[in-house]
Protein backbone atom coordinates (compact mmCIF):
# COMPACT_ATOMS: atom_id res chain seq x y z
CA UNK A 1 0.00 0.00 0.00
CA UNK A 2 1.44 3.42 -0.96
CA UNK A 3 0.81 6.56 1.03
CA UNK A 4 -1.36 9.12 -0.75
CA UNK A 5 -0.09 12.73 -0.42
CA UNK A 6 -2.51 14.79 1.63
CA UNK A 7 -3.04 17.37 -1.11
CA UNK A 8 -4.82 15.24 -3.73
CA UNK A 9 -8.51 15.94 -4.36
CA UNK A 10 -9.39 12.46 -3.08
CA UNK A 11 -7.85 13.28 0.26
CA UNK A 12 -9.83 16.51 0.62
CA UNK A 13 -13.13 14.69 0.11
CA UNK A 14 -11.99 12.12 2.60
CA UNK A 15 -13.29 13.33 6.01
CA UNK A 16 -16.99 13.34 5.04
CA UNK A 17 -16.66 10.02 3.24
CA UNK A 18 -14.90 8.55 6.20
CA UNK A 19 -17.62 9.75 8.54
CA UNK A 20 -20.33 8.25 6.33
CA UNK A 21 -18.54 4.92 6.38
CA UNK A 22 -19.00 4.77 10.12
CA UNK A 23 -22.80 4.61 9.90
CA UNK A 24 -22.92 1.17 11.55
CA UNK A 25 -21.32 2.61 14.68
CA UNK A 26 -23.82 5.49 14.64
CA UNK A 27 -26.68 3.03 14.33
CA UNK A 28 -25.40 1.02 17.30
CA UNK A 29 -25.19 4.29 19.26
CA UNK A 30 -28.85 4.96 18.40
CA UNK A 31 -29.84 1.56 19.77
CA UNK A 32 -27.75 2.04 22.92
CA UNK A 33 -29.26 5.48 23.57
CA UNK A 34 -32.76 4.08 22.95
CA UNK A 35 -32.11 1.29 25.43
CA UNK A 36 -30.68 3.51 28.16
CA UNK A 37 -33.29 6.25 27.88
CA UNK A 38 -36.19 3.98 26.93
CA UNK A 39 -38.66 5.43 29.47
CA UNK A 40 -37.97 8.96 28.15
CA UNK A 41 -38.12 8.11 24.47
CA UNK A 42 -40.96 5.60 24.30
CA UNK A 43 -44.28 7.39 23.77
CA UNK A 44 -46.23 4.88 25.91
CA UNK A 45 -45.71 2.36 28.70
CA UNK A 46 -44.63 -0.81 26.83
CA UNK A 47 -46.99 -2.95 28.91
CA UNK A 48 -50.11 -0.81 28.94
CA UNK A 49 -52.86 -2.62 27.09
CA UNK A 50 -55.70 -1.31 24.99
CA UNK A 51 -57.98 -4.20 24.15
CA UNK A 52 -60.09 -2.08 21.81
CA UNK A 53 -57.00 -1.29 19.78
CA UNK A 54 -55.74 -4.81 19.13
CA UNK A 55 -53.60 -5.44 16.03
CA UNK A 56 -54.08 -1.96 14.60
CA UNK A 57 -51.92 -1.14 11.55
CA UNK A 58 -49.14 1.50 11.72
CA UNK A 59 -50.38 5.07 11.95
CA UNK A 60 -53.73 4.23 13.59
CA UNK A 61 -55.08 6.18 16.53
CA UNK A 62 -57.21 4.34 19.07
CA UNK A 63 -58.37 5.94 22.32
CA UNK A 64 -55.32 7.59 23.94
CA UNK A 65 -52.84 5.74 21.70
CA UNK A 66 -51.31 6.76 18.43
CA UNK A 67 -49.68 3.62 17.02
CA UNK A 68 -46.67 4.74 14.98
CA UNK A 69 -45.67 1.15 14.12
CA UNK A 70 -49.00 -0.49 14.87
CA UNK A 71 -50.17 -2.39 17.93
CA UNK A 72 -49.82 -6.00 19.07
CA UNK A 73 -52.39 -8.62 20.06
CA UNK A 74 -53.11 -6.84 23.38
CA UNK A 75 -53.24 -3.34 21.90
CA UNK A 76 -49.79 -2.43 23.23
CA UNK A 77 -47.78 0.13 21.26
CA UNK A 78 -45.27 -1.76 19.10
CA UNK A 79 -42.89 1.21 18.82
CA UNK A 80 -42.61 1.53 22.61
CA UNK A 81 -42.12 -2.20 22.98
CA UNK A 82 -39.36 -2.22 20.35
CA UNK A 83 -37.54 0.56 22.23
CA UNK A 84 -37.81 -1.33 25.50
CA UNK A 85 -36.91 -4.56 23.68
CA UNK A 86 -33.52 -3.02 22.84
CA UNK A 87 -32.82 -3.12 26.58
CA UNK A 88 -33.15 -6.91 26.83
CA UNK A 89 -31.06 -7.46 23.69
CA UNK A 90 -28.23 -5.11 24.60
CA UNK A 91 -28.15 -5.98 28.28
CA UNK A 92 -27.90 -9.72 27.60
CA UNK A 93 -25.32 -9.20 24.87
CA UNK A 94 -23.12 -6.81 26.89
CA UNK A 95 -23.22 -8.86 30.07
CA UNK A 96 -22.65 -12.23 28.41
CA UNK A 97 -19.79 -10.95 26.22
CA UNK A 98 -18.15 -9.35 29.26
CA UNK A 99 -18.51 -12.47 31.41
CA UNK A 100 -17.52 -15.05 28.81
CA UNK A 101 -14.77 -12.80 27.47
CA UNK A 102 -13.16 -12.25 30.86
CA UNK A 103 -13.31 -15.89 31.84
CA UNK A 104 -12.34 -17.22 28.41
CA UNK A 105 -9.38 -14.86 27.98
CA UNK A 106 -8.07 -15.66 31.46
CA UNK A 107 -8.36 -19.41 30.86
CA UNK A 108 -6.78 -19.15 27.40
CA UNK A 109 -3.85 -17.02 28.61
CA UNK A 110 -3.11 -19.38 31.49
CA UNK A 111 -3.22 -22.40 29.16
CA UNK A 112 -0.92 -20.70 26.67
CA UNK A 113 1.53 -19.38 29.26
CA UNK A 114 1.75 -22.15 31.84
CA UNK A 115 1.56 -25.00 29.29
CA UNK A 116 1.82 -28.51 30.73
CA UNK A 117 -1.10 -29.89 32.73
CA UNK A 118 -3.02 -26.60 32.78
CA UNK A 119 -2.85 -26.41 28.97
CA UNK A 120 -3.96 -30.03 28.60
CA UNK A 121 -6.94 -29.71 30.93
CA UNK A 122 -8.16 -26.29 29.81
CA UNK A 123 -7.88 -26.93 26.09
CA UNK A 124 -9.57 -30.35 26.40
CA UNK A 125 -12.49 -28.69 28.21
CA UNK A 126 -12.60 -26.06 25.46
CA UNK A 127 -12.79 -28.84 22.84
CA UNK A 128 -15.65 -30.48 24.73
CA UNK A 129 -17.64 -27.25 24.91
CA UNK A 130 -17.04 -26.45 21.26
CA UNK A 131 -18.30 -29.91 20.22
CA UNK A 132 -21.74 -29.29 21.67
CA UNK A 133 -23.73 -27.16 19.22
CA UNK A 134 -23.95 -23.85 21.12
CA UNK A 135 -27.68 -23.32 20.76
CA UNK A 136 -28.38 -26.85 22.04
CA UNK A 137 -26.15 -26.39 25.09
CA UNK A 138 -27.86 -23.07 25.78
CA UNK A 139 -31.31 -24.62 25.40
CA UNK A 140 -30.65 -27.56 27.74
CA UNK A 141 -29.06 -25.32 30.39
CA UNK A 142 -31.87 -22.74 30.31
CA UNK A 143 -34.38 -25.58 30.50
CA UNK A 144 -32.65 -26.81 33.69
CA UNK A 145 -32.19 -23.41 35.34
CA UNK A 146 -35.52 -21.98 34.24
CA UNK A 147 -35.98 -19.09 31.81
CA UNK A 148 -35.16 -15.56 33.02
CA UNK A 149 -33.02 -12.61 31.97
CA UNK A 150 -30.23 -13.42 34.44
CA UNK A 151 -30.21 -17.12 33.55
CA UNK A 152 -29.95 -16.32 29.85
CA UNK A 153 -26.84 -14.22 30.58
CA UNK A 154 -25.30 -16.97 32.73
CA UNK A 155 -26.05 -19.61 30.13
CA UNK A 156 -24.64 -17.61 27.23
CA UNK A 157 -21.48 -16.85 29.24
CA UNK A 158 -21.12 -20.53 30.09
CA UNK A 159 -21.62 -21.56 26.47
CA UNK A 160 -19.40 -19.02 24.75
CA UNK A 161 -16.21 -18.64 26.85
CA UNK A 162 -14.32 -21.37 24.90
CA UNK A 163 -14.35 -19.17 21.78
CA UNK A 164 -12.29 -16.51 23.59
CA UNK A 165 -10.15 -19.13 25.31
CA UNK A 166 -9.09 -20.63 21.99
CA UNK A 167 -8.13 -17.28 20.47
CA UNK A 168 -6.37 -16.07 23.65
CA UNK A 169 -4.50 -19.38 23.86
CA UNK A 170 -3.20 -19.21 20.29
CA UNK A 171 -2.16 -15.58 20.64
CA UNK A 172 -0.49 -16.15 24.01
CA UNK A 173 1.53 -19.08 22.63
CA UNK A 174 3.01 -16.74 20.04
CA UNK A 175 3.87 -14.05 22.58
CA UNK A 176 4.96 -16.07 25.63
CA UNK A 177 8.31 -16.90 24.05
CA UNK A 178 9.25 -13.36 23.13
CA UNK A 179 12.52 -12.38 24.83
CA UNK A 180 11.00 -9.49 26.80
CA UNK A 181 8.25 -11.68 28.23
CA UNK A 182 10.73 -14.34 29.30
CA UNK A 183 13.04 -11.73 30.73
CA UNK A 184 10.22 -10.26 32.77
CA UNK A 185 9.41 -13.70 34.19
CA UNK A 186 13.10 -14.34 34.92
CA UNK A 187 13.32 -11.07 36.81
CA UNK A 188 10.67 -12.35 39.15
CA UNK A 189 7.42 -10.93 37.79
CA UNK A 190 4.40 -12.94 38.91
CA UNK A 191 2.19 -14.80 36.45
CA UNK A 192 -0.52 -12.17 36.84
CA UNK A 193 1.92 -9.37 36.16
CA UNK A 194 3.39 -11.02 33.07
CA UNK A 195 -0.03 -11.87 31.65
CA UNK A 196 -1.59 -8.53 32.55
CA UNK A 197 1.23 -6.20 31.52
CA UNK A 198 2.96 -8.00 28.67
CA UNK A 199 0.58 -10.55 27.19
CA UNK A 200 -2.88 -9.00 27.47
CA UNK A 201 -2.10 -5.70 25.68
CA UNK A 202 -0.68 -7.69 22.78
CA UNK A 203 -3.63 -9.99 22.33
CA UNK A 204 -6.45 -7.54 23.12
CA UNK A 205 -6.79 -6.61 19.43
CA UNK A 206 -7.58 -10.14 18.33
CA UNK A 207 -9.88 -10.58 21.33
CA UNK A 208 -11.85 -7.44 20.49
CA UNK A 209 -12.51 -8.72 16.97
CA UNK A 210 -13.91 -11.95 18.43
CA UNK A 211 -15.89 -9.99 21.02
CA UNK A 212 -17.58 -7.79 18.41
CA UNK A 213 -18.63 -10.75 16.29
CA UNK A 214 -19.76 -12.60 19.42
CA UNK A 215 -21.80 -9.56 20.43
CA UNK A 216 -23.89 -9.84 17.27
CA UNK A 217 -24.25 -13.56 17.83
CA UNK A 218 -25.36 -13.03 21.44
CA UNK A 219 -28.07 -10.61 20.29
CA UNK A 220 -29.28 -13.36 17.94
CA UNK A 221 -29.05 -16.02 20.67
CA UNK A 222 -31.07 -13.98 23.15
CA UNK A 223 -33.73 -13.36 20.51
CA UNK A 224 -33.69 -17.04 19.52
CA UNK A 225 -34.13 -18.25 23.10
CA UNK A 226 -36.89 -15.71 23.71
CA UNK A 227 -38.51 -16.76 20.42
CA UNK A 228 -38.63 -20.34 21.73
CA UNK A 229 -40.07 -19.11 25.05
CA UNK A 230 -36.81 -19.89 26.90
CA UNK A 231 -35.50 -16.37 27.28
CA UNK A 232 -36.87 -13.15 28.68
CA UNK A 233 -40.34 -13.83 30.04
CA UNK A 234 -43.51 -11.89 29.19
CA UNK A 235 -44.66 -9.24 29.67
CA UNK A 236 -41.07 -7.87 29.50
CA UNK A 237 -40.50 -6.70 25.93
CA UNK A 238 -38.02 -8.76 23.90
CA UNK A 239 -37.68 -8.73 20.13
CA UNK A 240 -37.49 -12.51 19.97
CA UNK A 241 -40.67 -13.00 22.00
CA UNK A 242 -42.42 -10.33 19.91
CA UNK A 243 -41.50 -12.22 16.76
CA UNK A 244 -42.94 -15.45 18.11
CA UNK A 245 -46.23 -13.60 18.58
CA UNK A 246 -45.86 -12.05 15.14
CA UNK A 247 -45.57 -15.52 13.65
CA UNK A 248 -49.17 -16.19 14.69
CA UNK A 249 -50.49 -13.09 12.93
CA UNK A 250 -48.60 -13.31 9.65
CA UNK A 251 -51.80 -13.36 7.61
CA UNK A 252 -53.61 -10.39 9.15
CA UNK A 253 -51.08 -8.18 11.01
CA UNK A 254 -47.73 -8.12 9.17
CA UNK A 255 -46.31 -5.31 11.31
CA UNK A 256 -46.10 -7.45 14.46
CA UNK A 257 -43.70 -9.84 12.73
CA UNK A 258 -41.82 -7.31 10.61
CA UNK A 259 -40.72 -4.41 12.85
CA UNK A 260 -39.12 -6.31 15.78
CA UNK A 261 -37.24 -8.45 13.23
CA UNK A 262 -36.11 -5.37 11.35
CA UNK A 263 -34.66 -3.86 14.54
CA UNK A 264 -32.91 -7.13 15.30
CA UNK A 265 -31.54 -7.31 11.76
CA UNK A 266 -30.30 -3.70 11.77
CA UNK A 267 -28.60 -4.09 15.14
CA UNK A 268 -26.85 -7.35 14.20
CA UNK A 269 -25.90 -6.01 10.76
CA UNK A 270 -24.30 -2.89 12.22
CA UNK A 271 -22.48 -4.94 14.85
CA UNK A 272 -21.12 -7.27 12.17
CA UNK A 273 -20.06 -4.36 9.95
CA UNK A 274 -18.35 -2.75 12.93
CA UNK A 275 -16.61 -6.06 13.65
CA UNK A 276 -15.27 -6.11 10.08
CA UNK A 277 -14.01 -2.54 10.51
CA UNK A 278 -12.32 -3.34 13.80
CA UNK A 279 -10.59 -6.28 12.12
CA UNK A 280 -9.46 -4.16 9.19
CA UNK A 281 -8.01 -1.57 11.55
CA UNK A 282 -6.14 -4.18 13.53
CA UNK A 283 -5.07 -6.45 10.69
CA UNK A 284 -5.01 -4.57 7.35
CA UNK A 285 -3.97 -7.74 5.52
CA UNK A 286 -7.38 -9.29 6.12
CA UNK A 287 -9.03 -6.73 3.82
Amino acid sequence: MTAVPATTPAARRWPLRKLLRWWPVALIAVFVVAAIFAPLIAPYDPNSQNLLGRLKPPGTTSRAFHYLLGSDELGRDLFSRIIFGARASLMVAFASVLLSGTFGVAAGMIAGYKRGVAELIIMRIVDVFLSIPAILLAIITVAVLGPSLVNVIVVLALTRWPRYARVAYGQTLAIANMPYVRLSALMGASVFRVLGIHVLPNIIGAISVVATLEFGLMVLFEAGLSFLGLGVQPPTASWGAMLSVGRNYIANAWWVGVFPGLSLFLLVLSVNLTGDKVRDQIDPRAQ
Binding site: V128, I132, P133, I135, I139, A143, G240, G257, V268
Partner: protein, 308 residues
Protein backbone atom coordinates in the same frame (compact mmCIF):
# COMPACT_ATOMS: atom_id res chain seq x y z
CA UNK B 1 -0.76 -42.69 9.07
CA UNK B 2 -1.97 -45.36 11.49
CA UNK B 3 -0.43 -43.45 14.36
CA UNK B 4 -2.23 -40.29 13.32
CA UNK B 5 -5.55 -42.13 12.95
CA UNK B 6 -5.32 -43.74 16.39
CA UNK B 7 -4.34 -40.46 18.01
CA UNK B 8 -7.16 -38.52 16.39
CA UNK B 9 -9.76 -41.24 17.18
CA UNK B 10 -8.56 -41.31 20.80
CA UNK B 11 -9.03 -37.55 21.01
CA UNK B 12 -12.55 -37.84 19.59
CA UNK B 13 -13.41 -40.50 22.16
CA UNK B 14 -12.15 -38.33 25.02
CA UNK B 15 -14.20 -35.41 23.69
CA UNK B 16 -17.36 -37.54 23.51
CA UNK B 17 -16.79 -38.71 27.07
CA UNK B 18 -16.36 -35.07 28.11
CA UNK B 19 -19.58 -34.07 26.36
CA UNK B 20 -21.51 -36.84 28.12
CA UNK B 21 -20.04 -35.76 31.46
CA UNK B 22 -20.95 -32.12 30.84
CA UNK B 23 -24.53 -32.97 29.84
CA UNK B 24 -24.85 -35.21 32.92
CA UNK B 25 -23.73 -32.50 35.30
CA UNK B 26 -25.63 -29.63 33.63
CA UNK B 27 -28.83 -31.46 34.48
CA UNK B 28 -27.79 -31.63 38.10
CA UNK B 29 -27.04 -27.89 38.33
CA UNK B 30 -30.18 -27.36 40.37
CA UNK B 31 -29.56 -30.39 42.54
CA UNK B 32 -32.27 -32.93 41.87
CA UNK B 33 -33.13 -33.71 38.22
CA UNK B 34 -36.43 -35.31 39.29
CA UNK B 35 -37.97 -31.84 39.42
CA UNK B 36 -37.19 -31.39 35.72
CA UNK B 37 -39.40 -34.33 34.89
CA UNK B 38 -42.51 -33.86 36.99
CA UNK B 39 -45.45 -31.55 36.26
CA UNK B 40 -45.94 -28.71 38.74
CA UNK B 41 -49.03 -30.40 40.17
CA UNK B 42 -47.14 -33.55 41.29
CA UNK B 43 -47.43 -34.57 44.93
CA UNK B 44 -44.49 -35.34 47.21
CA UNK B 45 -45.23 -39.08 46.96
CA UNK B 46 -45.25 -38.92 43.13
CA UNK B 47 -41.91 -37.16 43.12
CA UNK B 48 -40.35 -39.65 45.55
CA UNK B 49 -41.67 -42.59 43.52
CA UNK B 50 -40.28 -41.19 40.26
CA UNK B 51 -36.95 -40.33 41.88
CA UNK B 52 -36.63 -43.91 43.06
CA UNK B 53 -37.82 -45.40 39.75
CA UNK B 54 -35.22 -43.41 37.80
CA UNK B 55 -32.47 -44.09 40.32
CA UNK B 56 -31.89 -40.42 41.18
CA UNK B 57 -31.74 -41.34 44.89
CA UNK B 58 -28.51 -43.30 44.40
CA UNK B 59 -25.04 -41.82 44.96
CA UNK B 60 -23.99 -39.42 42.19
CA UNK B 61 -21.01 -41.50 41.12
CA UNK B 62 -23.20 -44.61 40.68
CA UNK B 63 -25.68 -42.61 38.59
CA UNK B 64 -22.84 -41.23 36.49
CA UNK B 65 -21.29 -44.64 35.77
CA UNK B 66 -24.71 -46.07 35.02
CA UNK B 67 -25.40 -43.21 32.62
CA UNK B 68 -22.11 -43.82 30.81
CA UNK B 69 -22.66 -47.57 30.54
CA UNK B 70 -26.14 -46.98 29.08
CA UNK B 71 -24.68 -44.54 26.60
CA UNK B 72 -22.00 -47.02 25.57
CA UNK B 73 -24.84 -49.34 24.59
CA UNK B 74 -26.63 -46.47 22.79
CA UNK B 75 -29.41 -46.65 25.36
CA UNK B 76 -30.77 -43.13 25.79
CA UNK B 77 -33.45 -44.16 28.28
CA UNK B 78 -37.21 -43.99 28.02
CA UNK B 79 -39.39 -40.93 27.60
CA UNK B 80 -41.17 -40.29 30.90
CA UNK B 81 -44.18 -38.73 29.20
CA UNK B 82 -44.64 -40.93 26.14
CA UNK B 83 -43.28 -44.18 27.63
CA UNK B 84 -41.35 -44.91 24.44
CA UNK B 85 -37.56 -45.34 24.16
CA UNK B 86 -35.90 -42.00 23.40
CA UNK B 87 -33.92 -43.62 20.58
CA UNK B 88 -37.19 -44.57 18.84
CA UNK B 89 -38.52 -41.02 19.06
CA UNK B 90 -35.26 -39.57 17.76
CA UNK B 91 -35.14 -42.10 14.92
CA UNK B 92 -38.67 -41.15 13.83
CA UNK B 93 -37.83 -37.42 13.69
CA UNK B 94 -34.27 -37.58 12.38
CA UNK B 95 -35.16 -38.04 8.67
CA UNK B 96 -37.05 -34.73 8.64
CA UNK B 97 -34.14 -32.83 10.14
CA UNK B 98 -31.73 -34.48 7.72
CA UNK B 99 -33.94 -33.46 4.78
CA UNK B 100 -34.01 -29.89 6.05
CA UNK B 101 -30.24 -29.81 6.67
CA UNK B 102 -29.59 -31.23 3.19
CA UNK B 103 -31.88 -28.63 1.63
CA UNK B 104 -30.16 -25.87 3.57
CA UNK B 105 -26.72 -27.17 2.58
CA UNK B 106 -27.74 -27.00 -1.09
CA UNK B 107 -28.90 -23.39 -0.62
CA UNK B 108 -25.82 -22.41 1.41
CA UNK B 109 -23.26 -23.97 -0.94
CA UNK B 110 -25.24 -23.17 -4.10
CA UNK B 111 -25.32 -19.46 -3.29
CA UNK B 112 -22.24 -19.18 -1.09
CA UNK B 113 -19.60 -20.75 -3.35
CA UNK B 114 -20.51 -18.69 -6.47
CA UNK B 115 -20.67 -15.62 -4.25
CA UNK B 116 -17.19 -16.38 -2.94
CA UNK B 117 -15.87 -16.81 -6.49
CA UNK B 118 -17.38 -13.44 -7.46
CA UNK B 119 -15.86 -11.80 -4.40
CA UNK B 120 -12.39 -13.15 -5.22
CA UNK B 121 -12.38 -12.68 -9.00
CA UNK B 122 -13.89 -9.20 -9.10
CA UNK B 123 -12.24 -7.66 -6.04
CA UNK B 124 -12.96 -3.96 -5.65
CA UNK B 125 -15.46 -3.89 -8.52
CA UNK B 126 -19.05 -2.84 -7.86
CA UNK B 127 -20.37 -6.36 -8.40
CA UNK B 128 -18.19 -7.67 -5.57
CA UNK B 129 -19.37 -4.89 -3.31
CA UNK B 130 -23.04 -5.65 -3.98
CA UNK B 131 -22.33 -9.30 -3.41
CA UNK B 132 -20.47 -8.64 -0.15
CA UNK B 133 -23.40 -6.56 1.09
CA UNK B 134 -25.81 -9.37 0.25
CA UNK B 135 -23.67 -11.94 2.07
CA UNK B 136 -23.36 -9.76 5.16
CA UNK B 137 -27.10 -9.05 5.20
CA UNK B 138 -27.85 -12.77 4.99
CA UNK B 139 -25.46 -13.42 7.86
CA UNK B 140 -27.18 -10.82 10.04
CA UNK B 141 -30.69 -12.17 9.39
CA UNK B 142 -32.09 -14.17 12.27
CA UNK B 143 -33.53 -17.39 10.78
CA UNK B 144 -36.82 -16.90 12.55
CA UNK B 145 -37.26 -13.49 10.96
CA UNK B 146 -36.29 -14.53 7.43
CA UNK B 147 -38.65 -17.48 7.93
CA UNK B 148 -41.53 -15.19 8.85
CA UNK B 149 -40.79 -12.86 5.91
CA UNK B 150 -40.66 -15.80 3.49
CA UNK B 151 -44.02 -17.11 4.74
CA UNK B 152 -45.50 -13.62 4.44
CA UNK B 153 -44.38 -13.09 0.86
CA UNK B 154 -44.50 -16.53 -0.74
CA UNK B 155 -47.28 -18.24 1.21
CA UNK B 156 -49.66 -15.50 2.31
CA UNK B 157 -49.39 -12.90 -0.45
CA UNK B 158 -48.27 -14.80 -3.52
CA UNK B 159 -49.66 -18.18 -2.45
CA UNK B 160 -46.89 -20.02 -4.31
CA UNK B 161 -45.71 -22.22 -1.46
CA UNK B 162 -47.40 -23.88 1.53
CA UNK B 163 -46.76 -21.86 4.74
CA UNK B 164 -45.71 -24.72 7.02
CA UNK B 165 -45.61 -28.43 7.85
CA UNK B 166 -44.49 -31.24 5.54
CA UNK B 167 -45.92 -32.89 2.47
CA UNK B 168 -43.72 -32.51 -0.54
CA UNK B 169 -40.79 -30.77 -2.08
CA UNK B 170 -42.60 -27.43 -2.04
CA UNK B 171 -42.82 -27.61 1.76
CA UNK B 172 -39.06 -27.95 2.00
CA UNK B 173 -38.21 -24.87 -0.06
CA UNK B 174 -38.77 -22.05 2.43
CA UNK B 175 -37.29 -23.74 5.54
CA UNK B 176 -34.19 -24.64 3.49
CA UNK B 177 -33.75 -21.06 2.33
CA UNK B 178 -34.25 -19.63 5.84
CA UNK B 179 -31.72 -22.04 7.33
CA UNK B 180 -29.29 -21.99 4.39
CA UNK B 181 -28.95 -18.20 4.14
CA UNK B 182 -27.18 -18.12 7.49
CA UNK B 183 -24.50 -20.61 6.43
CA UNK B 184 -24.13 -19.04 3.01
CA UNK B 185 -21.82 -16.38 4.45
CA UNK B 186 -19.43 -19.03 5.78
CA UNK B 187 -19.22 -20.66 2.36
CA UNK B 188 -18.72 -17.33 0.61
CA UNK B 189 -15.94 -16.24 2.98
CA UNK B 190 -14.00 -19.50 2.88
CA UNK B 191 -14.31 -19.78 -0.92
CA UNK B 192 -13.08 -16.22 -1.32
CA UNK B 193 -10.09 -16.76 0.99
CA UNK B 194 -9.16 -20.09 -0.63
CA UNK B 195 -9.35 -18.59 -4.14
CA UNK B 196 -7.33 -15.50 -3.21
CA UNK B 197 -4.66 -17.77 -1.71
CA UNK B 198 -4.43 -19.75 -4.93
CA UNK B 199 -4.58 -16.71 -7.20
CA UNK B 200 -1.44 -15.31 -5.62
CA UNK B 201 0.59 -18.44 -6.35
CA UNK B 202 3.30 -18.77 -9.00
CA UNK B 203 1.58 -21.44 -11.08
CA UNK B 204 -1.38 -19.13 -11.66
CA UNK B 205 0.89 -16.33 -12.85
CA UNK B 206 2.73 -18.76 -15.12
CA UNK B 207 -0.51 -20.08 -16.56
CA UNK B 208 -1.77 -16.53 -17.15
CA UNK B 209 1.44 -15.49 -18.84
CA UNK B 210 1.09 -18.44 -21.18
CA UNK B 211 -2.33 -17.16 -22.21
CA UNK B 212 -4.65 -19.55 -20.35
CA UNK B 213 -8.08 -17.95 -20.27
CA UNK B 214 -9.54 -16.98 -16.88
CA UNK B 215 -12.44 -19.47 -16.95
CA UNK B 216 -10.21 -22.37 -17.90
CA UNK B 217 -7.69 -21.34 -15.25
CA UNK B 218 -10.43 -21.18 -12.64
CA UNK B 219 -12.01 -24.53 -13.37
CA UNK B 220 -8.99 -26.58 -14.48
CA UNK B 221 -6.32 -25.37 -12.09
CA UNK B 222 -7.56 -23.34 -9.17
CA UNK B 223 -10.82 -25.13 -8.33
CA UNK B 224 -9.07 -28.37 -7.40
CA UNK B 225 -6.66 -26.77 -4.99
CA UNK B 226 -9.14 -24.34 -3.50
CA UNK B 227 -11.79 -27.01 -2.93
CA UNK B 228 -9.95 -28.62 0.02
CA UNK B 229 -10.72 -25.95 2.65
CA UNK B 230 -14.22 -25.54 1.24
CA UNK B 231 -14.93 -29.26 1.73
CA UNK B 232 -13.60 -29.18 5.29
CA UNK B 233 -15.74 -26.20 6.19
CA UNK B 234 -18.86 -27.76 4.73
CA UNK B 235 -18.35 -30.83 6.94
CA UNK B 236 -18.24 -28.57 9.99
CA UNK B 237 -21.10 -26.41 8.75
CA UNK B 238 -23.43 -29.44 8.71
CA UNK B 239 -23.42 -29.53 12.50
CA UNK B 240 -24.30 -25.81 12.59
CA UNK B 241 -27.19 -26.50 10.25
CA UNK B 242 -28.47 -29.31 12.48
CA UNK B 243 -28.38 -26.98 15.49
CA UNK B 244 -29.95 -24.09 13.57
CA UNK B 245 -32.80 -26.42 12.63
CA UNK B 246 -34.13 -26.14 16.20
CA UNK B 247 -35.43 -22.63 15.53
CA UNK B 248 -36.31 -22.99 11.86
CA UNK B 249 -38.39 -26.10 12.57
CA UNK B 250 -40.36 -24.14 15.15
CA UNK B 251 -41.08 -21.37 12.63
CA UNK B 252 -42.28 -23.75 9.93
CA UNK B 253 -43.86 -26.44 12.17
CA UNK B 254 -41.43 -28.90 10.60
CA UNK B 255 -41.65 -32.19 12.54
CA UNK B 256 -37.92 -32.79 13.01
CA UNK B 257 -35.58 -33.08 15.98
CA UNK B 258 -35.71 -29.35 16.71
CA UNK B 259 -39.46 -29.31 17.06
CA UNK B 260 -39.45 -32.38 19.31
CA UNK B 261 -36.73 -30.76 21.45
CA UNK B 262 -38.75 -27.61 22.05
CA UNK B 263 -41.94 -29.59 22.67
CA UNK B 264 -40.10 -31.84 25.13
CA UNK B 265 -38.80 -28.89 27.12
CA UNK B 266 -42.32 -27.53 27.47
CA UNK B 267 -43.64 -31.02 28.34
CA UNK B 268 -40.77 -31.52 30.85
CA UNK B 269 -39.71 -34.66 28.99
CA UNK B 270 -36.05 -34.14 29.70
CA UNK B 271 -34.51 -37.37 28.47
CA UNK B 272 -35.50 -36.50 24.90
CA UNK B 273 -33.76 -33.12 25.16
CA UNK B 274 -30.69 -34.86 26.56
CA UNK B 275 -30.79 -37.41 23.72
CA UNK B 276 -30.92 -34.71 21.05
CA UNK B 277 -28.05 -32.76 22.63
CA UNK B 278 -25.91 -35.90 22.85
CA UNK B 279 -26.71 -36.84 19.26
CA UNK B 280 -25.92 -33.32 18.02
CA UNK B 281 -22.55 -33.34 19.79
CA UNK B 282 -21.74 -36.86 18.62
CA UNK B 283 -22.41 -35.84 15.01
CA UNK B 284 -20.24 -32.72 15.44
CA UNK B 285 -17.31 -34.72 16.82
CA UNK B 286 -17.64 -37.34 14.08
CA UNK B 287 -17.82 -34.75 11.29
CA UNK B 288 -14.75 -32.96 12.56
CA UNK B 289 -12.91 -36.30 12.86
CA UNK B 290 -13.89 -37.21 9.29
CA UNK B 291 -12.85 -33.80 8.01
CA UNK B 292 -9.44 -34.11 9.68
CA UNK B 293 -8.86 -37.59 8.27
CA UNK B 294 -9.94 -36.61 4.77
CA UNK B 295 -7.79 -33.53 4.97
CA UNK B 296 -4.74 -35.52 6.07
CA UNK B 297 -5.20 -37.91 3.15
CA UNK B 298 -5.35 -35.02 0.68
CA UNK B 299 -2.54 -33.05 2.31
CA UNK B 300 0.06 -35.26 4.07
CA UNK B 301 1.81 -32.25 5.62
CA UNK B 302 -0.96 -32.09 8.24
CA UNK B 303 -0.14 -35.60 9.51
CA UNK B 304 3.47 -34.59 9.97
CA UNK B 305 2.49 -31.45 11.87
CA UNK B 306 0.26 -33.44 14.19
CA UNK B 307 2.93 -36.03 14.84
CA UNK B 308 5.40 -33.46 16.06
Amino acid sequence: MLHFLLRRCGQALVTILGVATLVFFVQRLTGDPTYLLVPETATKADIDALRHALGFDRPLIVQYLDFLSDLARFDLGQSVVQRVPVATIIASRLPYTLQLAAGALVVAAGLGIPAGVLLAMFRDRWIAKVCAGFVLAAQSMPTFWSGILLIMVFAVHLGWLPPSSTGGFSNLVMPSIALGLLSMATFARITRTALLDELSKDYVRTARSRGVRTMRLLFRHIARNASIPVITVSALEISNLLAGAVIVETVFAWPGLGQVTVQSILARDFLIVQGVVLLGSFVTVMLSLTADILYSIVDPRIRLDAAQ
